[in-house]
C-alpha cells in the first residue's frame, strides 16, 4: 500500500482536486494499480461527443496497452486525439455510524495522454505474449501459435503512464467524534475478485486447468 503522496501532479489536468489526501503520483503506485486491474475505461471524443468504452488492458514498463480490431472506431479515434483512461478497483465496503460517512476502500488510476499505434510486428508479438502470460503464466508456449494474419489483424495501442494520478482509500471508518457510541456496527467489509469452478469445454483435449493471476 502506498505510504506517501510525495510526488507532485504531472500536469494540471491530472491533479486530483477532491480529497487530495488520497492522491498519489508516483510511478510505482500507478503501475501496481494498473497491474491489479483487468479492465480499464477509455474515454475520448469523436466530433465533440464523449465516448467511454471498457476494454481489457495490460502494462509493459511505462505504458498501458490495449488491443482490438484494427477497423474499430475506437482505435481510429484514439490515434487522432487525446484520451483519458480510468481504472477502478473496489477493495472494501466502509460502514460508518452515519450515512454521510459510509464509503468504499478503492484504488483508482486516471491517465491522460494520446495513444500511439504499435505497428512493428516483433513489438506486437512480444506485447501479445506479455498480455497472455500476465493473465496465465506459462500459457503462451502451449497455445496454437499465432499466425501472421492474426497478428496483422490485431490493432495494438499504448499510452504512456507519464501523466497519471492514483487515488487510494485503504483505511477504516472516519465517523464524527460525537457518533462513536451510536449502537450500530462500524467497520470495513473487504472485497476481492474470486475465481469459481472452471468450466471445461466439452471438446477440450487438454485437461490441466492453467494457473491464472488470481491463483
Amino acid at each position: 500500500m502506498p505510504q506517501s503522496a510525495s510526488a507532485a501532479a504531472p500536469s494540471s489536468r491530472a491533479r486530483i482536486r477532491r480529497l487530495p489526501e488520497r492522491a498519489h503520483y508516483d510511478a510505482s503506485t500507478v503501475a501496481a494499480i494498473v497491474d491489479a486491474a483487468m479492465i480499464c475505461t477509455v474515454a475520448f471524443q469523436i466530433d465533440g461527443v464523449v465516448h467511454a468504452i471498457p476494454t481489457i488492458h495490460w502494462r509493459e514498463g511505462d505504458h498501458l496497452y490495449i488491443h482490438g480490431a484494427k477497423a474499430s472506431r475506437m482505435l481510429k479515434a484514439l490515434t487522432a486525439g487525446e484520451a483519458c483512461v480510468t481504472i477502478a478497483l473496489a477493495d472494501g465496503l466502509v460502514l460508518a455510524r452515519s450515512a454521510m460517512h459510509h464509503s468504499m476502500n478503492y484504488r483508482s488510476v486516471v491517465i491522460y495522454g494520446r495513444f500511439e499505434l504499435v505497428t512493428d510486428p516483433a513489438h506486437k508479438l512480444g506485447s501479445l505474449r506479455a498480455f497472455i502470460e500476465g493473465f496465465y503464466p506459462g500459457r503462451w508456449d502451449t497455445l496454437r501459435p499465432i499466425s501472421d494474419k492474426e497478428l496483422n489483424a490485431t490493432g495494438l495501442l499504448r499510452i504512456a503512464l507519464a501523466e497519471a494520478s492514483a487515488k487510494v482509500r485503504d483505511w477504516g471508518v472516519k465517523d464524527d467524534a460525537e457518533d462513536l457510541d451510536w449502537p450500530v456496527w462500524a467497520g470495513v467489509i473487504p472485497l476481492r475478485t474470486a475465481t469459481g469452478e472452471p468450466l471445461t469445454e466439452a471438446d477440450s483435449v487438454g485437461e490441466r486447468v492453467p494457473a491464472t493471476r488470481f491463483g
Copy 2:
C-alpha cells in the same frame, strides 16, 4: 441472462458497432447490469479536455444516481454538458486454444445524456436512503439520522437510462474449427466479487455485522 437483442439502439451514438451480436438495448438488461455494479466511470469534458472519473452509483427506476460534494468540479461540469457513463463487470476468463480467441465474459453498459441536479430535499433524502438500503438492506433506520446540514452539502445527480446500450458476452470458447484438437485446456474460469472477513472498528459499539447485497 439476456436472450435477445430485439430492441433497437436508442440513438446513433449509443449504437454498438463492434460485435453487435453482443448488444442489448432493452431496459431490463441495462437496469440489471447497473444494479449488479457498484462503480461506474463518468466521462465528460471541461474546456475540450475529456475527463473520466470513477464513482459509486445506484439506480432508482429509469435513472442512475451519483453523489458527491456540491463544490466538486465534476458535479459542476456534469450539469453543464453531455456525459457518457460506463459500467463494466468481469464475469469470466475465456481460455481458447489460440491467443486470438482468448476473451472475457463480461456485462457492460454505456449511457449517454445529461445529468440533472436533484435539489428537492425529500427526493434527496429518499434517494440517499435507497442508496444505503441497496447496499445494506435494513441499515438506514439503524444509523445516526442524517442532518439537514449533511443533506444540504450532498450534491445529488441523476441521468436517464433512456440512451443506453448493454454489451454481454456469456458463453464458452469460440475457437477456429481446425484448432479444436490442440492439446491445451480450453474453457471458462468464472469470476465474481467476494467479501472477506469483516474488520470491526476497535471502538464499534454495535456487534452485529449487517447483511450486504453480496450476501
